[in-house]
């Protein structure tokens, strides 16, 4: 909840094209991406956007495929909003916001076809690689989705999957020699908040709380691949168009943080 | 007056939320809101114009208490100093011991339960109400208090005005044709006391008719006809 005074202040600044922290309407906060921080994880990345801090970890495990896709590997995304990240987060199972975030990122990866699941199959119907992606929110200062999405993509790009040999349906895993996983284009997600009548990119926490609604748009190779409107507010049709266009152009910028990683496909 | 300003519906039309009713200098009445000079309905209801005011009489909706409303409710709990009464409003109502009866209750000597117990139906008046809080009731007037005989009919609160009728025409008609005492709670509970159960049933039938046909003009005449027919059949 945001105080009326703060909200009024944010709105009046926006009316003169300024934001609380001096950014322009379409500017991201300072972004930092670091990878390979957690030795025991197969892939990891820590992303900060301003003071928002998210850690993503990847573990590859062998397990059964889904019954209706016996020859595809499994990708699963889970997010935890840790209680230490914000006075408003409570301990317990993921709430609707954490579940929504995980599912939005999952959809963006799936539709971008970022991970070639067919190459993760070992013994059809019995054994496949499962990519467990866990998103850990460490500090909430707004725009958890973009930070989490970037951390996920960075973790995947820098991850290494063990090699497996399949002999007569028996799988032998070589944990020593790990190789890059079968990845193709990574999506990036751009979140735009609507505050009053203004659209701003990368809302900081105060802006998020003052916003009526947000639109998170995932882009890959110049196309939209996922979108999620959240919040109880509304958008005009023209604002949807504007947001899509903003996301496509900012996406390029975000993508530059991933390009240097693991050959950056 | 406002005759030349655009109006998109006429009296007695059924309108729905978001429907554009009129434009211009009309004033928004019940269940109507004005935006950019246009008047819209916010409920499913019947359009009624009244001297430049656009009203929508809703066909369903919650009971919103008003100070002075006569209501009928059920005691659902008793605290140390008050009764908790369900008056079918979004919030339960409180009847403080000090307002519970014309004769003052001595809390030190008497148990609240002696006067009204959980499950009792009461006729009361709303003495205070702020939207965010619970309404307060009083039974401190003559005619208010516990209901001990007769029967109770429940109808949607929004249909109560129709049941009462313009200048009480409908309710007077029912009372005179059936010979029953009828107390109408603004919250949609109706207390009927008749000489015999058949008379009370007749009231129930008239009420049912009114609730079902509230949106069709000429209701008073139809109810009168129905009551006279039933009486003829009886004799």
């Amino acid at each position: 909840m945001i105080s009326k005074v703060k909200k009024a202040q944010i709105l009046s600044l926006l009316n003169s094209g300024r934001r609380v922290d001096g950014r322009t309407l379409d500017q991201y906060r300072n972004i930092k991406v670091e990878t390979n921080l957690i030795g025991r994880a197969d892939g990891s990345a820590r992303v900060s956007i301003g003071d928002t801090l998210v850690l993503a970890g990847i573990k590859y495990e062998i397990g059964p495929p889904f019954p209706d896709t016996p020859d595809l590997g499994v990708l699963t995304v889970n997010a935890e909003f840790l209680p230490l990240a914000s006075p408003t987060f409570e301990s317990g199972p993921p709430d609707e916001n954490a579940i929504e975030l995980a599912r939005v990122i999952d959809r963006s990866l799936r539709k971008a076809e970022a991970v070639d699941l067919s190459k993760l199959c070992l013994v059809p119907g019995k054994s496949v690689w499962i990519a467990w992606i866990d998103i850990y929110v460490l500090n909430h200062d707004g725009n958890l989705i973009d930070a989490s999405a970037l951390a996920t993509s960075a973790a995947l790009l820098s991850s290494r999957i063990p090699q497996a040999d399949v002999e007569e349906e028996r799988v032998k895993v070589n944990y020593e020699d790990k190789v890059p996983p079968p990845l193709s284009k990574m999506p990036v997600t751009v979140t735009i908040a609507k505050i009053g009548d203004t659209l701003v990119v990368d809302p900081v926490l105060d802006e998020e709380e003052a916003a009526d609604a947000k639109l998170s748009l995932s882009v890959v190779e110049g196309k939209l691949c996922a979108a999620q409107k959240s919040g109880e507010g509304v958008f005009e049709v023209e604002e949807l168009q504007k947001a899509a266009s903003m996301a496509l152009s900012k996406g390029e910028e975000l993508y530059s943080y991933l390009k240097t990683l693991a050959g950056g496909t | 007056m406002c005759d030349t300003l655009p109006v998109y519906f006429k009296d007695w039309d059924v309108v729905v939320p978001g429907e554009l009713l009129a434009e211009g200098n009309y004033r928004p009445g019940s269940n109507v809101y004005k935006e950019d000079g246009k008047l819209y309905s916010n409920a499913v209801g019947i359009l009624k114009f009244n001297r430049g005011v656009v009203n929508v009489v809703p066909l369903s909706g919650p009971y919103i208490p008003k100070v002075g409303d006569l209501v009928i409710g059920e005691v659902i709990d008793i605290t140390a100093s008050s009764y908790v009464v369900d008056i079918r409003a979004p919030h339960v109502a409180f009847l403080n011991a000090s307002e519970a009866s014309v004769k003052p209750l001595n809390l030190h000597e008497e148990d609240l339960r002696k006067l009204y117990d959980v499950g009792d139906m009461l006729v009361a008046k709303v003495i205070s109400f702020e939207r965010a809080f619970n309404p307060s009731l009083t039974c401190k007037e003559k005619g208010l208090g516990k209901i001990t005989k007769g029967s109770i009919i429940a109808i949607p609160a929004v249909k109560v005005p129709r049941l009462i009728g313009r200048r009480r025409s409908m309710i007077s008609l029912i009372k005179s044709e059936t010979g029953c005492e009828v107390v109408v709670g603004q919250n949609g509970y109706i207390w009927v006391v008749g000489e015999n159960p058949e008379d009370e049933d007749l009231v129930a039938e008239a009420v049912r008719r009114i609730v079902e046909e509230a949106h069709v003009a000429g209701l008073t005449a139809r109810v009168m006809q129905m009551l006279k027919n039933k009486k003829r059949k009886k004799s």
Partner: protein, 267 residues
């Protein structure tokens, strides 16, 4: 193992179209869909209002084989008290699928998908309600999917709007919803389950049509910017048709009775 994996096993994978494992085309060369519809055609839609006795408002909607029952209770008091908002009503929404509503029986326990959709539906409907009129109360919306054949969240929103209006809860406008998808390269409206699972794109969309305000937008699949604009246009047109049907459905129960009374004479 978490709740996560359970999720996907339950009907979110790809559907085999025939035993040979070959993919049948979902749309013919002249744009006829697997169920005979044109790309911009809605399925047969049925709407009834006031179908449950106890709920303050209710509605039943069918869109093709998708069957949704929605009910509204409220405004009513919130328990525990600290959950109430002092200045407006709190909207709570539960989207739930019956175990027998899908091909492979679904456990009745709320899945992650149902948690997300409950939030999405709440956010699609809240703005339409005049919440400030009922501070410190709750408005509870229940959407039950009885049979799922695509676009359940959209049909759910259509039903919930009707249920809210039936309950007499003051609303700025009705909310109409429709999903647009892409199937074999064609943009289509009102997806069936087959089209959703085997198509390239699913874009659920809802708006307060009279006010032209979008309350729900999700996208699952690739669309170019131009395709996105076209898809939104198609969604708006589809929503208009649904909105008109919702208005009809709300008025119908009163108008039929009125006609019979005014036409047939009194009893």
């Amino acid at each position: 193992m978490g709740v996560c994996l359970e999720e996907y096993q339950l009907g979110e994978g790809k559907v085999r179209l025939n035993m040979a494992g070959e993919q049948r085309r979902l749309i013919s060369d002249d744009g006829v869909r697997h169920d005979g519809r044109r790309p911009d055609e809605l399925r047969p839609i049925k709407m009834s209002v006031g179908v449950l006795k106890n709920a303050n408002g209710s509605a039943y909607v069918e869109q093709g084989n998708t069957k949704i029952l929605a009910a509204v209770y409220g405004p009513r008091s919130v328990h525990p008290r600290h959950l109430a908002y002092p200045d407006k009503a709190r909207v709570r929404c539960r989207y739930h699928m019956a175990p027998f509503s899908v091909e492979t029986r679904k456990s009745p326990a709320p899945s992650r998908r149902e948690v997300e959709l409950s939030k999405v539906l709440r956010e699609a409907l809240s703005h339409a309600i005049l919440l400030e009129q009922f501070p410190s109360t709750a408005i509870d919306i229940f959407v039950e999917v009885l049979e799922a054949d695509g676009s359940t969240r959209c049909a759910g929103i259509n039903a919930a709007s009707l249920a809210l209006a039936d309950a007499g809860i003051p609303m700025k406008d009705l909310v109409a919803a429709c999903a647009v998808g892409k199937v074999d390269g064609y943009l289509v409206v009102d997806l069936t389950d087959l089209e959703d699972k085997n198509g390239e794109v699913d874009m659920p969309f809802a708006m307060m049509y009279g006010k032209r305000k979008v309350t729900l937008l999700q996208l699952d699949g690739k669309l170019s910017y131009e395709e996105f604009l076209k898809a939104v246009d198609m969604a708006v047109v589809a929503c208009e048709r649904i909105y008109m049907m919702q208005k009809e459905a709300l008025k119908q129960r009163y108008l039929t009775l009125r006609k019979s009374i005014e036409g047939g004479g009194s009893t």
